[in-house]
């Protein structure tokens, strides 16, 4: 087991780099068993590192099973915020993160998202690091100071 804060910090760094680079490269957010196998570290240590990263607001864990819900901007599960970029399909937990996928993978991207009210699909497009197709308006329901009070709602 991990025994010191320095060990935990170092493992958390390795886990972070693996998770985000895998998510970008594959469109799929790896979970603890896969991370454990890839890094050659015990799964409880990996889960401790993931918890450490969640406390640091680097990613978000699902409240029921401790799996990664979102390694923001990458959502681990299909959502309403779909991103097609670099020949892969990604998901975001919100429109900010969907746009963030295009930024993180540094690629042209087509983003499809529903109107929060009527559900109509809208499309945004990023090319050469610029938004070239825009639609609608983005609404933040929660003031910035309270975003992390309930990040799922935010």
């Amino acid at each position: 087991m991990t025994t010191s804060h320095a060990d935990l910090d170092a493992l958390a760094r390795d886990v972070r780099v693996y998770v985000f680079q895998q998510a970008a490269a594959t469109g799929r957010v790896p979970q603890a068993p896969e991370i454990s196998g890839a890094l050659g570290r015990a799964e409880p240590d990996v889960r401790a590192a993931l918890h450490h990263l969640a406390v640091g607001k680097v990613l978000i864990l699902a409240s029921n099973d401790g799996d990664i819900w979102a390694a923001n901007p990458f959502c681990a599960l299909p959502s309403g915020f779909r991103v097609d970029a670099a020949g892969r399909r990604y998901w975001g937990i919100c429109i900010w993160d969907a746009l963030g996928v295009a930024a993180a993978v540094d690629s042209d991207a087509v983003i499809s998202a529903p109107c929060g009210d009527c559900g109509d699909q809208m499309t945004l497009e990023v090319r050469h690091r610029a938004l070239v197709r825009a639609d609608g308006v983005v609404h933040f329901a929660v003031p910035a100071h309270h975003w992390w009070d309930n990040i799922g709602f935010t």
Partner: protein, 72 residues
């Protein structure tokens, strides 16, 4: 953060849920915010933005005022 067809749809969504209206921005502002926030996230030496860096990013995107205040 949700995308809406227009301001009227935002108002209706808030009314239906009995929520106070938050703040809106253009998709262009949202893109600039997302780009500044996430462009380095894959880098091994990535670190969270400091409070001051986040404030500067919000201001650069034109998001100022009480709603965007990050301090107590």
């Amino acid at each position: 953060m949700l995308l809406f067809r227009d301001e009227e749809h935002v108002d209706r969504w808030c009314r239906t849920r009995e929520l106070s209206r938050g703040a809106t921005m253009t998709p262009e502002q949202a893109w600039r915010l997302a780009y500044g926030w996430y462009k380095d996230k894959l880098k091994p030496d990535w670190r969270r933005h400091t409070l001051e860096e986040t404030e500067a990013l919000l201001a650069d995107v034109g998001l100022t005022g009480a709603f965007w205040n990050l301090r107590d």
